[in-house]
């Protein structure tokens, strides 16, 4: 992205900015990258013009642009720039609704290994094979970055990364196995303790316990419990989930609740 496309000093009339100034008194769209001013989106009348500062020089591809006047279009290439959006529903585009312009600099996500909208696996090679853990880390960083600073989606720069290029065993090794170890450990501890307890109470040994239906049921409950309830919050979550699955159905059935025994429809 060209850097210094539009550096302007504050109160300017930049007719040069927009090749075709619209004669209408509509307000322009000024996309708003930062979400830090949720309270004052549209009705800004202040004329605080931030100077065209380059902001925190975090990245080389930052640039700023100002549009001091309402009713003008900004026709410049996409910049990772934030301008205060001052479009107001139906407001007159003349001086009455001058926008406040605040310039912040937000940089795009950049990483040398992120090439053309996907991770370049060659750059992740370790011993001749791609280091999948590093790819996962990189993608996690990218998503975290974007969550905090959402970027505009661009047609020239489409993102085509698909997590399924990372093979299933890489995911398994990294995420499933530790948890599986944990759960198996829990199950084993519970199993051992319960087997001991039942044995000491009833004298039935482990092998005989396995033959008993009630014991088998208990075993099943224990296994399911360990699988399903992994954190304390899971108990509440499961209850809510169960309610959630049937909630919509109940909303639809509501109209049949007060109905005469003519024709109830149960779906």
């Amino acid at each position: 992205m060209p850097i210094s496309m539009a550096l302007f000093s504050p109160p300017t009339h930049p007719p040069s900015l927009s090749p075709s100034i619209s004669p209408k008194t509509h307000l322009t769209v000024k996309p708003h990258l930062s979400l830090r001013q949720p309270k004052t989106p549209f009705f800004l009348l202040s004329t605080t013009r931030a100077s065209a500062d380059n902001g925190a020089g975090t990245s080389a591809s930052a640039a700023t642009a100002l549009e001091p006047e309402a009713g003008q279009k900004v026709a410049e290439p996409p910049q990772p720039v934030v301008e205060k959006d001052a479009s107001s529903a139906g407001a007159n585009g003349s001086a009455g609704a001058a926008e406040a312009v605040e310039v912040k600099v937000v940089s795009k996500f950049e990483d040398p290994r992120w090439v053309e909208g996907t991770w370049d696996l060659k750059q992740f090679e370790k011993d001749g094979k791609p280091d999948w853990d590093a790819v996962i880390d990189a993608e996690a960083k990218r998503r975290k970055w974007l969550e905090g600073k959402p970027e505009s989606s661009s047609n020239d720069d489409p993102i085509v990364f698909d997590t399924s290029i990372i093979p299933w065993w890489a995911w398994t090794k990294r995420f499933h196995l530790p948890e599986a170890e944990l759960l198996n450990g829990r199950a084993a501890m519970i199993g051992f303790f319960m087997a001991y307890l039942v044995d000491s109470l009833t004298g039935v040994g482990l092998v005989d316990q396995m033959g008993n239906f009630f014991c088998k049921t208990l075993l099943f409950v224990a296994v399911v419990g360990v699988l399903v309830i992994r954190k304390n919050e899971d108990i509440e979550n499961l209850k809510k989930l169960l309610e959630e699955t049937t909630f919509y159905d109940k909303q639809w059935q509501a109209t049949w609740q007060d109905e005469t025994p003519g024709g109830s429809k149960n779906q």
Binding site: S22, K24, H26, L27, T28, V29, P31, H32, L33, L35, P38, P41, F42, K73, V74, P78, D85, A89, G90, I136, D137, E139, A140, K141, R142, R143, K144, L146, E147, G148, P150, E151, S152, S153, S154, N155, P158, I159, V160, D162, T163, S164, I166, W168, W171, R174, F175, E244, Y248, Q251, W252, A254, T255, W256, D258, E259, T260, G263, K265, Q267
Partner: protein, 464 residues
Amino acid sequence: MASIALKSFIGLRQNTAEKPHLMTAQTKPSSLNPRKLRVVASKSSPRLTNRNLRVAVIGGGPAGGAAAETLAKGGVETYLIERKLDNAKPCGGAIPLCMVGEFDLPLDIIDRRVTRMKMISPSNVAVDIGQTLKPHEYIGMVRREVLDAYLRDRAQASGAEIINGLFLKMDMPRDGESPYVLHYTGYGGKAGAVGEKRTLEVDAVIGADGANSRVAKAIGAGDYDYAIAFQERIKIPDDKMAYYQNLAEMYVGDDVSPDFYGWVFPKCDHVAVGTGTVTHKGDIKKFQLATRNRAKDKILGGQIIRVEAHPIPEHPRPRRLSGRVALVGDAAGYVTKCSGEGIYFAAKSGRMCAEAVVEGSENGKRMVNEGDLRKYLEKWDKTYWPTYKVLDVLQKVFYRSNPAREAFVEMCADEYVQKMTFDSYLYKTVVPGNPWEDLKLAVNTIGSLVRANALRREMDKLSV
């Protein structure tokens, strides 16, 4: 009070003098013995002498227009009460292909045919869907004022009387034969802009007056959860408009909406950029800014020409029917989850309800009762319940969180998914599909969800 008013009114109609006579003679048998083999309650309703059944349709949108047309064609004396005949209802404006065929819509009311859609994930992974569409398949984008006017005019041509008026309230009848008395403010003619209060007596009412339905309030239908959809119409430069020639975009992400999606839909000569939410209505402007930001490059240089917002029901009202009053369309709450689609279902429910009335009254010759209208509800629930349920499940699974949305977009890249999605959407049937492919799809879905959630856990560990 109502009865006194009715008595004086009855005097104006010479035929109704006979009605009470008929009624007393036949109320007993009607509840006991249907006269025909088919056990249908209304068939034993008294015949109306010297007049046809009178039905008022409140609301002249797609639901009202479709209902009025079907009623009028069925021989019912139909009144369509609409408060603003040139209303440009804020709306996404997408209609499925089947609506064009089922409602005989002329192709010139469709401004654009969308044949491609782009789904964009929170991390801006963009997936194109639409490759599986056949050449004749598309999603139609319409202007509501054009569509509504067309359906109303057609209803009028079939014999419905269009009344420009604002429905205020209605008086409930005392029994199964008395009419409903509707109070409305009539505009037009000498009434002018202020309007004058008028009344109308009808035998049945179809409430098609939208999300804030007064008819629903009048019958105590209850409330529903609703989403706020906020939309800005933006006129963008021609070269950017060319990109949206037949493409619509859907943006998902927590920044855009916590429980819905942001969209860029092409309209006749501009695009509509909007978003919606149920749970965080107060933040809607923030979400709108985020949506515009995500589409920034593609709408750069655009001018906002209009800002609009409207409520979208999330589920049907607790009561969709009471006595001889039925709700259809948004008034009933027939908007699907996940996609928020309502136009087709409004029109279809209007038509279905009207068909039930026509059938129950034997083309307007008999009085109807609640049982006849219940048939419309039965048929509706049976036909479209699977569609609604599937979309609800999709919303619950895929709009939950950012990882779920990432998985959603990943899944959309799959051709089978695209085919199933479009088939279901365009033809409004839940297509069963190939079981082997369904299994693969299930496995892939779970895989995507697991991967996305695993990444989320990694993200949480990072303290950026």
